[in-house]
């Protein structure tokens, strides 16, 4: 009886599951029935819609071997992959052709994988839900939101990035891009136009450095920069919306008035106010968030003059770089994985003090980063000062020759930029900032030059004698 009741209570979820599965199975059967044609149809619009990268003129004559008609099968695809790979090797490095070809090669391989998976499904009659679909650079996988907390899951609404409509989870299957988190209805998947933000980001390699590089609506021909919808101020459905990151105008279905921090504004103005950005802009910034790409001091040296926080962080990072040299050479620290354990994925913080990620800069402003680095500094410091091997690699100030050991990251110490020697700051100032070791190195060099000139003057006599004597010991040993 009780089990009967349980099954009744479970019914709605069961129905939901069934509906869900049936839609996805139906879709995959759909795929199945046209397995060969869907692939080729998909790959064909890919090239025409790839606005960012049209086929280079020099490759047009190869087009027939690279881009397929509807009767493409896996052999065609394999041949195309081989041909494409050969062309990649022939093309010039960093050229437009190579870029296009490499990207096309990736697409081809995905298409082949899709086709093979579909065939595998046909053979085994089992639905593979994890099949990846690739459309304009996106790699779509079925979207299954974390449903541990059912209430939360119900409260959270998902919107399709393509049509901006709600995704009704119970009846509609959805796909998400594993690279840029682009979420899309199953029904919209083949008409996706936005090139994957991950592709754009890896092409750009660096977040847009100019603040809102606006070109104006007229230059855009009053069209949405993404879907080319005609924009019009009179109608709120198609009003133009400016993306503060890209500097372009978008229609409301491509620009949802999301607010986010903009990298260029941070780097130039230390401005962390969220601005309205387009969906593609948002996805791109989010991809750049944790990448240590920004050489802040090179981009904007004045920031370090005005912001004490930034100076503190820079000093701390410099000290951590010195400490890392010690930890890298210390077996104990390597065994304990001290660096990994403290920094984890933020290793770049102790690798140099140049590169910052956007996330780092946000944390500099909030003060979290300085606190974090201070903690790491303490842990590293306590290891170095208690480890015999690390202490053995300390420095001794040769100016005062005191037995006290000093480290490059100590407060009262200064490093000679030429020879890396460390001195007490006081001692070094007393020597008028002239490094005694550098003086010795210089003297030795001069001595060597003098010796050389002497030798050349003495001529060949000595050389002959030298070579004679050089032969002797070989005989004896």
């Amino acid at each position: 009886m009780s089990s009967w009741r349980e099954s009744i209570t479970n019914l709605p979820t069961a129905v939901a599951q069934f509906v869900n599965e049936s839609t996805s199975t139906a879709s995959s059967y759909l795929n199945l029935s046209h397995s060969s044609s869907t692939v080729s149809e998909e790959s064909a619009p890919q090239h025409t819609d790839y606005k960012a990268l049209p086929i280079p003129a020099s490759l047009v004559k190869e087009q027939w071997r690279l881009i397929f008609t509807s009767d493409a099968n896996s052999q065609d695809l394999q041949a195309a992959i081989a041909h494409c790979r050969d062309l990649v090797l022939l093309s010039d490095e960093c050229s437009e052709e190579r870029r296009w070809l490499v990207r096309h090669l990736v697409d081809l391989r995905y298409s082949l994988q899709e086709l093979e998976e579909a065939q595998a499904v046909a053979n085994t009659d089992v639905v593979v839900l994890n099949a990846i679909k690739s459309v304009v650079g996106h790699h779509f996988v079925p979207h299954h939101p974390n449903t541990r907390n059912r209430l939360q899951a119900a409260a959270k609404r998902y919107y399709c990035d393509h049509c901006a409509g709600i995704i009704w989870r119970v009846v509609q299957a959805a796909y998400i891009c594993s690279d840029c988190s682009y979420l899309v209805h199953q029904k919209c998947i083949d008409s996706v136009q936005r090139v994957c933000a991950h592709v754009l980001a890896s092409d750009r390699q660096y977040p847009i450095a100019d603040i809102c590089p606006e070109i104006g609506l007229a230059a855009q021909r009053y069209k949405c920069a993404e879907c080319s919808t005609l924009l019009n101020f009179k109608n709120s459905w198609i009003e133009p919306r400016l993306c503060d990151y890209r500097g372009l105008y978008y229609c409301p279905s491509c620009h949802w008035n999301d607010s986010f921090i903009v990298p260029a504004r941070i780097v130039h103005n230390w401005d962390f106010t969220p601005r309205k950005v387009s969906r593609t802009g948002l996805q791109e910034i989010q991809l750049f968030l944790d990448k240590p790409l920004i050489r802040l001091e090179e981009e904007n040296p004045k920031l370090f003059v005005f912001l004490e926080k930034l100076c503190t962080v820079k000093k701390l990072r410099q000290n951590l770089v010195h400490m890392r040299h010690y930890l890298a050479a210390c077996k104990d620290a390597a065994e304990q994985k001290l660096v990994d354990q403290q920094l984890g994925r933020r290793r770049h913080l102790a690798q140099s003090n140049e590169f910052y990620s956007i996330g780092d800069l946000v944390q500099v402003e909030s003060g979290v980063l300085a606190e974090f680095l201070q903690g790491v500094f303490k842990v590293f410091g306590s290891h170095i000062r208690s480890c015999e091997m690390c202490l053995a690699k300390a420095y001794i100030c040769e100016i005062c020759s005191n037995n006290e050991v000093i480290f490059p990251f100590d407060d009262g110490c200064i490093k000679c930029d030429q020879c890396n020697s460390i001195y007490h700051r006081v001692c070094f100032t007393r020597k008028n900032m002239i490094c005694p070791k550098c003086v010795r190195i210089q003297e030795r060099r001069l001595q060597l030059q003098r010796d050389l000139s002497k030798q050349s003057k003495k001529g060949e006599d000595e050389n002959a004698e030298d070579s004679d004597s050089a032969l002797e010991p070989v005989d004896t040993t």
């Binding site: 208690s386 001794i396 460390i422 007490h424 006081v426 010795r440 030795r444 004597s469 050089a470 004896t476």
Partner: protein, 207 residues
Amino acid sequence: MATRKKSLLKVIILGDSSVGKTSLMNQYVNKRFSNQYKATIGADFCTKEVVVNDRVVTMQIWDTAGQERFQSLGVAFYRGADCCVLVYDVTAPNSFKNLDSWRDEFLIQASPRDPEHFPFVVLGNKVDLDNRQVSTRRAQQWCQSKNDIPYYETSAKEGINVEMAFQTIAKNALEQEAEAELINDFPDQLRLNSENNRPSNADNCQC
């Protein structure tokens, strides 16, 4: 010989990169040789028990980085050394010329009590190779000019003269130590882990 407090001899091996410092140490301590070159990073030490003058002593042999780019760390371990081994490659004249600077730098950084009579030992390594460039006479002349430094020609690969050279090193180190004890019963070693070594500010500098 009466029992002594200290039976640890600290030996430092110095010389240009790839002259065979690590190989010499490995040959002496582990009796092994590898043809593969692997640059030493920073410094490391091995210990070996040896019998010198009927006494068992522990030899702590410090192997150092010859490559300049790995010399980014300090050399506080020079302090308290009992003997310094200078190694050059008989097939590389430059490594021989640089012995002077290695010796000078060592004396400055280690600042021993009596720099004139600090025990050095010079080793001309790789005598098993055919293309010899530095003659024995030239090396011996240099050693004589520097207060009669003992000189050995070794091959870490074949194990030629390695045992003998290190025996001399141990003997000289022990003598140095005995002399040091004559001057001062309680040799002030560098205490690396004491708290007063921590420079809280530059005023700690006693000069």
